[in-house]
Amino acid sequence: MLVLGIESSCDETAAAVVSDGRRILSNVVASQVDFHALYGGVVPEIASRKHMEAILPVIDRSLEEAGVSLDDIDGVAATRGPGLIGSILVGLSAAKAIAFAREIPFVGVNHIAGHIAAIFLEEKVPPFPFTALVVSGGHTNIYTVEDFDRMRLLGQTRDDAAGEAFDKAAKMLGLGYPGGVVIDRLAEQGDAGRIRFPRPMKNSPDFSFSGLKTALLSYLKQCEEPPAQDDIPHVVASFQQAIIDVLVEKTMRAAGYCPGGAVVVAGGVAANRRLRQCFREACEADGLDLYIPSPALCTDNAAMIAAYGTRLLEKGIVHSFDLNALSRWPVGMD
């Protein structure tokens, strides 16, 4: 089965063609450098209007790269939420239009669950059931995944997402935006035990990183002077470690209740090297297998949406054309 996937929930306009939910034939993201030239230099950034300008060229490009035409596509999957409603509608409407015109099935999917499905595009695939952490600029969610259509949300952030905490810390330290990559690099040169930042919400399945942000702010205020250039790596490493400790601890605790032996870590922040190392160590200690998608499949992309959509379509889950977009995905809804 060939499925066209479309993703437009936030900054990226993306389309991909995936075969049998396993093999990527194309995976086009509109902020890709080579695409900009083709597109005339416009970077589709935040807005629905920009998604609108990008969506059709991106879809065309994904078909072209896959070497197929719409005649070959058996189904269309698009992100339904959560995200920026105007942006989601662009991709969702395009998917519906194609499905309607071609008389092929359409399915709208949860973007966060899509991040989990990205692992099924890799060589090594986790067995069900498993525990999954999706950690990105906009999300910090833990799930027990029994099957593609049975993902149970165990915990999520109550305020800031983990990636957002990185970005905000980078801003406070004058390291620029977005901060994830800079922090990853600087932290390598720092001592993570130098400053003891709190590990918030220890006994809850949910996350809260807003208080950690305030703790960093208080720390910076009580320093007589702004931290010297040499000290910044220590501050960054300590802050990063606080976030990682919380992510690892809660995920491993959830994994302890899951009958399966695998842990999946997905989403943009899963590219953080220290995070990967800490998860490797924790999983090894607990005798669990760790699965992390390759970096290109960790960030927002449409191949994961196509892969996830394929599995839902295979289960007979098809949506009608009146399916609406969701800005927020309420707890408890599949």
């Binding site: 936030c10 950034e45 935040i46 807005a47 629905s48 209007r49 920009k50 959560p82 995200g83 920026l84 409603i85 105007g86 990105s136 600029g137 906009g138 999520q156 952030t157 109550r158 305020d159 800031d160 997402a161 990636g163 957002e164 970005d167 905000k168 801003k171 406070m172 935006y177 949910d206 807003s210 942000k213 305030t214 702010l217 208080s218 800005s327 927020r328 309420p330 707890v331 408890g332 809804m333």
Partner: protein, 161 residues
């Protein structure tokens, strides 16, 4: 004429309570501009407002920094903006900002100082400042006598100010 009300929040709980009172009394179409540094409590206050608007518990009101706008159902719908990442007014147009602001819901805008010239005449401005780890100064002002008096009265009844 701009009336000003200065409140002191002694804790996160106080900030949530102040938000809740604002949400309980909010009128359709009200726009609340939140001004204050990182960690001053803008998102916390909005969580309180959401509780006052009866946003269902299964919706967590989280920071909109990444998504730019989050929408929630409630007694009045809540539109929660964070305009920090926006490059300019054109981005605001692309987000459909005018449609939100002219709608029947309550619009709360974090980092509103970046779009001061795009706020409606009757906006309620809430300036937040950290006094210590826990304490916050919260300053309410509005050119709309109606909104200001309504919220002032409610906050006074609630034991604030």
């Amino acid at each position: 004429m701009m009336s000003v009300l200065i409140l002191r929040s002694k804790s996160l709980e106080d900030t949530l309570r102040i938000g809740r009172i604002i949400g309980e009394r909010a009128l359709p179409g009200m726009v609340i501009a939140l001004v204050g540094d990182l960690g001053s409590g803008k998102t916390s206050l909005t969580q309180g407002i959401a509780a006052g608007l009866e946003v269902p518990d299964e919706y967590y009101v989280t920071s909109p920094s990444f998504t730019l706008v989050n929408e929630y159902p409630g007694r009045l719908p809540l539109y929660h903006f964070d305009v920090y990442r926006l490059a300019g007014p054109a981005d605001l147009d692309d987000l459909g900002y005018d449609d939100y602001v002219s709608g029947a819901g309550l619009t709360a805008v974090e980092w509103a100082e970046k779009i001061m010239d795009r706020l409606p005449e009757d906006v309620v401005i809430v300036r937040m400042k950290s006094l210590s780890d826990e304490e916050r100064a919260i300053e309410l002002s509005s050119r709309s006598e109606e909104s200001f008096e309504l919220l002032k009265k409610a906050l006074e009844e609630g034991g604030f100010a």
